[in-house]
Amino acid sequence: MSRLSIRGIEKTFPGRRRAAPTRALEPTDLEVRDNDFITILGPSGCGKSTLLRVVAGLETPTAGTVTLDGRPVTRPGPDRGMVFQSYTLFPWLSVRDNVCFGLRERGVPRAEQLAIADRYLAQVGLKGFENHQPSQLSGGMQQRTALARALANDPGVLLLDEPFGALDHQTRELMQELLLGIWEQHRKTVLFVTHDIDEAIFMASRVVVMSARPGRIKCDIAIDLPHPRSYKVKTSAAFAAYKERLTEEIRVETIKTLNMEA
C-alpha cells in the first residue's frame, strides 16, 4: 500500500486585480511508497513547490485529495516534517531549542526533548553548536539544524523544498551526501523538490519530472543506482545516462517556460 497518496490534486490561484487566475497545477497523481526518496524535478514556476505545500497542508488544493497512511491531509502537522528553501530557524532560540520546538509543542518532557535534540544535532554534524544562536551559523549549518528540527518529530514523510538552493555548490554537495546518509540509515519517506538535475539523480530512488506551467507530472523514472551511494557515483556511466535523459526532459520544459514569458 502507498504511504502517501496524491490523487487529482490541482491548484488554481485566483487572479488579482482583474488578472486571469493562474493555473499552477493540472490534476496530478502520485503514489509514494514507504521508504521512497522521490525528487521532484522541474523548471522554476512549474508548480513543484505548490505540490509540496499541498502535501504539507500549507496550501489548500482546488480539487483532489492527499492521504497519508489512509488519513486525508487537511492541515499542516508534525507527521509531515518540512525544510524550506529560506532559513526558517527561530532567531530567538538557540540551535538546541530550535530542534526542541516541535517536541515542546507536542508536550514531550524536557529531558526527553534535550536527548532527542542532541541526538539529531550530532547526526547532522552539529555537536558542539547546541548553544549557538542561528545568526552565528553559516547557511549550510542553519539548514542542517532545520533538517534536525524536522527529523526530531520523527515524521512519516519528510518534505524538502529546495533546502540547499541558497547554498554554494560545494556545501550543497556535502549536504546531499549528509541527507542521503541519513535516509540510508533511517529509511524515511522523502519528497524533495529541486531544479538541479545532479541533485535529483544522486539522492533519489525515483525522479519525478514536472512540465512547465501549468505543472503536471511528465515522467517518473526509477533511479537504479546501488546504495550506499558515495559522491563517486556522480561520475559513473549509469549516472551519466540518467543525466542525459533528464537533461533532455527538463530542457524542453525550460524552453517552454521561457517562451511563455516572452
Partner: protein
Amino acid sequence: MDGLFAPLKPVPPGLRPVLGILCFVLFFLGWGIVTYGGFVQPLFLASPGETLLKGGELFVEYGFAGDVLVTVWRVFAGFALAALLAVPLGILMGAFKPVEAFFSGFVSFARYLPASAFIPLLILWAGVGELQKILVIFIGSVFQIVIMIAVIVGSVRTDLVEAAYTLGASRRGVVLRVLLPAAAPQMAESLRLVLGWAWTYVIVAELVGASAGIGHMIIEAQRFLDTGQMIFGIFIIGMIGLITDVLFQAANARLFPWAKGR
C-alpha cells in the same frame, strides 16, 4: 573626509560619540553667543548661565523636584495604562485579520484626534485632578500603540509561521511562541517611540488646570516673565527624555540580543 560621506557607510566607532557631543557643544555655543553677545534681550531668551542659576533656584527654593516627579509619574501612568490595553489589542489585530478588519478603520480615525483637543472634555468628565492628566496621555498614546503593534505582529515572516505549523504547533502555539517572540524587539522599539510622544502630551495637559508638574511651573514662570525658569523646565524634559530613551534602548538590547543589527 571623502570616505566618511559615502551613503549608508557606517561611521567609525570612536567618532560616533564625538560627533554626538559636538552637536550639543555647538548648540550651547550658539545659545551663549546670541545671549552673552547681546544679540537678544534677556527678557526673551535667558543665557545658559542664567538658566542654570534659575534651575538651581527652582530645586532649592521652589521644590521643583516634586514637580518633576509628578510629571514623570503622570507620563508613566498614562503610558503604562495605554500599553496595557493597546499591546494585547494590537497583537490580536496583527494575528487575526477579522479583528484587524473590525478595529483598523476606527483606530486609524481615532489616531488622528489630537489628545489636547480632549482636554476640555476630560476636565468635564474627570475634573482637574491626576486622572484627567493621565487620561490625556492615555488618549494620546493608546491608538498609536495599537496601530504600530498590529503592523509589527502582522508582518512577522510567514515562513516562520509555516515552519511552526509543520512542526506541530497549534494556532495558540503560533501566536504565543512564534508571533510574540518574533515581534517583541520591534514592539519594544515602538513603545520607546510612543513614550517620547507621551512627554509632549503631558506638558499640554499641565498647561491647563494643574497645580503641580513641569508644565505648571512653566506657566507660572510665564506670569513672571522668567525665561530662565521656562527654558530650564523645557531643558529638564529633554534630559529626562534622553535618559529614559537610553535606558529603554539598553533594556531592549539586553532583552533581545538576537535582534541586534536588524
